[in-house]
Symmetry: C2
Subunit: 329 residues, 2 copies
């Protein structure tokens, strides 16, 4: 393995080449120039946020993408990032090269650059790879879309489909043995999520409030409801499902509603849940078309508190699980 | 242990109370308003950057202070930070409360606030506490002081004293058995460094180039020389030492020059090494007085490359060690 400064020079400095404020990664700090920035910081830990043995390339891309998802949900345009890596004691240079390759692929795809960071190696045996990523986005003209500004009467929308990533994780963890036909697609949703960067920027000035779905649809709707001081009603039968998730739900022993409730509690979707007044329906349809993003109206914002999950007959279902909590044992 | 959101609400949200852009830690991202910012990101890992068993309060303060040191060396005024924590599986709430208490102490001392972040828990047994901190400083009127702008003929200065932190680590690791009289003082330099925030801001517009000393005086002078395309000559007998380091050096078997070379290679000093033209000597003296910061002229910038360590007779000494490299095994 090369030395620290060689590793930085060889693998990471090229990723910062187009970013003026990164100073070629040759200083202690980066420069961020005047604008309103939206900043997100998510940490990924081996064994918690990705599976030991996941390819280096997809781990790198997931680290970028979970943060890109936060920036997108806030209506901002991603610009650049700081990267902190703590490598396992046993890391080899090939792994680092693959990791940097994954970053490069996504830098090109999302037009972002590396601005700076820190890289170090664990001394404890078998300590897990840990990636800390801080992403900067330029705020849209109407500023950041917050969690706290949903209004009574708003429609509630989600992008894409819900629950695929959770099924992917179950397959990777060998808990789910079926779904052979959809295996690759579902696992990819877990390993390399697709942040909704295009429509995220377009929602600025349209959506009243927004959150990305990382803890689970029900849990994240709950966060948004709480910060806005409202209740959110969601039609379980309206939640958009992929073909794989539909197949899984229709075979679920407890029935389709229970299955969808589980999908809505999994998390790691990195879709956007947002609210907007009914007067914006046409604008949202346009934004969805222009950015080629599936958008589904799943419910509405009402007076009250919490999340109400309704079945097709209008009965309220009780969530078995309120989403992922890193501190729960 | 409470749940993730309770932990954030109870221990971390109060630290963000005075920061408008943090939105009370109730959103996915923070807002950074228009200004030129200097950003630094340093990760601290248990067993690498601090000793297992170090008090939670001092670990928290060290995480802030190593980043404050980067911001200070760049001539910027610290403003706020993003915090990423990966707690060991066995963490208890008392530890987190102590950690947050340490952050609070230093927020008050340095007038900074928490802007956002992420908190998660290891699943692997005995995986080390890992803290990733991103610090934002408002750049001085002349912009960031870089590593790359030292000029031939500049004087070379360091703040404070060199090598104390390395001796402190040797004492904590029970490699150094002497120095009883200076034990607390030296260990504190390792556990809770004192970033030179006051003089850092004052150097903007005076210093031509600057770096904080984290890898070791010789190594960091080398980084500065390399990025500036110059050589740096340092008088070994001019390097400022504390009473404890002086006592250690005078008892060193290899002689005083060798001892000081070791002190200059230890690292973790979090002092500032900077260069300025001779015409600025009076301004630097004033800045040192006003900010009550010891500043010592240790050498000069000359044509060439690398770092030349000279003894009192003008002979060049060869560094045994080029400073700390996280990738060296």
């Amino acid at each position: 393995l090369s030395g620290e400064f060689t590793i930085i020079e060889k693998y990471f400095a090229p990723l910062a080449a187009d970013c003026l404020g990164a100073l070629g990664l040759k200083d202690d700090a980066a420069i961020l120039d005047a604008a309103q920035y939206v900043i997100s910081k998510d940490i990924l830990v081996e064994g918690v946020h990705f599976v030991t043995g996941d390819p280096a390339r997809s781990v790198a891309r997931k680290a970028l993408r979970v943060n890109l998802s936060d920036i997108a949900a806030k209506g901002a345009k991603p610009a650049g990032y700081l990267l902190g890596c703590v490598w396992p004691e046993s890391v080899d240079e090939e792994y680092i090269a693959e990791f940097a390759g994954g970053l490069k692929d996504d830098q090109d795809e999302f037009k972002i650059c590396l601005m700076g960071g820190d890289t170090t190696v664990h001394r404890a045996k078998k300590a897990p790879l840990t990636i800390s990523l801080t992403m900067f986005g330029v705020a849209g003209r109407s500023g950041m879309i917050k969690r706290s500004s949903a209004a009574i009467g708003d429609d509630v929308y989600v992008t894409g489909t819900i629950g695929d990533s959770g099924l992917g994780l179950s397959i990777l963890a060998r808990k789910e043995k079926g779904l052979k036909e959809f295996k690759d697609q579902l696992c990819e949703r877990y390993q390399v999520p697709s942040p909704r960067v295009q429509i995220g920027g377009a929602l600025c000035g349209i959506a009243n409030s927004s959150i990305d779905i990382s803890d689970g649809l029900i849990a994240d709707a709950g966060h948004l409801a709480e910060e806005s001081g409202v209740a959110i009603e969601i039609g379980v039968d309206r939640i958009p499902l992929s073909a794989g998730a539909s197949a899984w739900a229709s075979n679920f022993a407890g029935g389709s509603d229970s299955a969808i409730m589980k999908l809505a509690a999994f998390g790691d979707d990195y879709e956007i849940l947002f609210t907007a007044p009914p007067s914006c329906r046409r604008a949202i349809q346009m934004a969805a078309q222009v950015t080629k993003t599936p958008v589904t109206k799943v419910g509405r914002v009402i007076r009250g508190a919490g999340v109400l999950m309704k079945n097709a007959e209008g009965a309220t279902l009780s969530p078995e699980c309120a989403g992922f909590d890193h501190f729960k044992r």
